[in-house]
Amino acid sequence: MSTFLENSTLFRKVLMALTGLFLSVFLIVHLAGNLQLLLPPDQASIQFNQYSKFMTSNLLIKIVSYVLYLSIILHAVLSLIITLKNKKSAGGGYAYDKRAKVSNWYSRNMGILGTIILLFLIVHMKDFWYEYKFGSLPMDAEGNKDLFSIVVSAFGEPLYVVGYIIAFVALGYHLLHGIFSAFKTFGAYPSRISSLLYFISTGLTILLTVGFIFIPIFIYLKYHIA
């Protein structure tokens, strides 16, 4: 494994790009699934719980979910290896440094943004994934585990909603740099293709970020304020 990861700077970046893009595709699916929370309450409850059951019992989805967990781990471990090597390669730094002017802050701080996302993931997995798998959930009218009510009650706490928004803003900036950077790592070189991929990457980032931020706010306002 060590020689595999030490293969070359470019190869390590390709692995970062592959795992990152796979995780981005997962985000599209995850957001699409979550949009069911926006349905009218009765329908949302039944449909979301059915969907949760399907997502945790289907064999194919189970296999994909293991690839997903592996991707998260590989992406995080690689980022650590890459960051440590880069620190060494940077060579000391400058007494007077104005380099921040020539690049975007989020492209320089992918590690910090990624750490925020990782911390969020731990809380998120504990509160929903772990609860669904190992907690004692109430049943809905159809006899499915009632994840919907757990989700709705979780977002009744304003601080919890704010925490989610912060995590999604971090995710948004991470994707804003990450998705396009991944395409560049694959070698998106003719400028026409590069421009098209930049358009797609940025569009997808905006869609995902706005979508993920909207849902907790919507639940808070609809189920806890009105």
Partner: protein
């Protein structure tokens, strides 16, 4: 104009360096930045002090020898300009100017502002050329190349190897330099033939020298005095991935 200087002084690679304060009173705004340093050195020599050592050669912006980190930026405040093409009119009267050597894990300070960039030469020696001896210059029209192709290859070939890309990269990556060489040759029919073997060997040497990963912050293209585009890095990545999948094609 009067200026204050804070210049990095260091005896050799092993010793620890530090910023030393100087001031100059008779600076003219039409002086180049290097002429200002010449003026300082004349004063230091008259005082019996060791002059500040810095790299320079053509002073026309085409050789890539000069390279200083000025006020926190590679080659100073102007875009698309090497240190020798920077003039004192870009600074204010009474301003304090910080001058440091280009830094990178693969660049060692030799003395003061002079750095060892032989790592670039070793990358070049791994494939920054066409290995077939062609004898005399062949007939120019024997190999048809479009005007756009030639221009595009020249945009990459314009790299002067100054090292500003490495100096400004937070990762100390030499991706812009290495990719400009790879792309320049990959864009022309004469260079295309060996492009897969070339990219593998040059990237291997780049890694061996200890340069970091490119994380696409795009800072390098902003500071490049020749305005080499990061699209060269995209092309290098493409050539590298192709070579990794298809083999070096011999």
């Amino acid at each position: 104009m009067k200026i204050k200087l804070k210049i990095w002084r260091q005896i050799n690679a092993e010793s620890k360096g530090k910023l030393v304060d100087y001031s100059l009173d008779n600076v003219e705004e039409d002086m180049s930045f290097l002429e200002m340093l010449d003026l300082l050195n004349e004063e230091l020599i008259l005082k019996g002090e060791r002059p500040v050592e810095f790299d320079h050669d053509c002073r026309e912006g085409i050789c890539g020898t000069c390279g200083l980190f000025i006020n926190g930026r590679a080659h100073g405040p102007l875009a698309g300009t090497s240190t020798c093409q920077l003039h004192m009119r870009s600074f204010k009267d009474g301003e304090t100017i910080y001058i440091e050597p280009f830094r990178g894990g693969a660049f060692n300070v030799i003395r003061d502002l002079k750095i060892d960039r032989s790592s670039f030469d070793r990358i070049m020696s791994k494939g920054g050329y066409i290995s077939t001896p062609v004898g005399d210059a062949p007939e120019a029209n024997a190999v048809p190349i479009t005007h756009d192709q030639a221009e595009s290859a020249f945009d990459s070939a314009a790299c002067i190897g100054c090292g500003a890309c490495v100096a400004t990269c937070k990762n100390g990556s030499a991706a812009l330099f290495t990719s400009a060489k790879i792309t320049h040759l990959a864009k022309l029919p004469q260079g295309k033939v060996e492009s897969r073997a070339r990219v593998l060997k040059m990237v291997e040497q780049m890694d061996e020298e200890g340069f970091g990963h490119c994380t696409n912050t795009l800072a390098c293209q902003v500071e490049c005095p020749q305005e080499i585009s990061v699209s060269n890095i995209d092309r290098m990545n493409w050539e590298y991935n192709k070579a990794k999948i298809l083999g070096k094609g011999d």
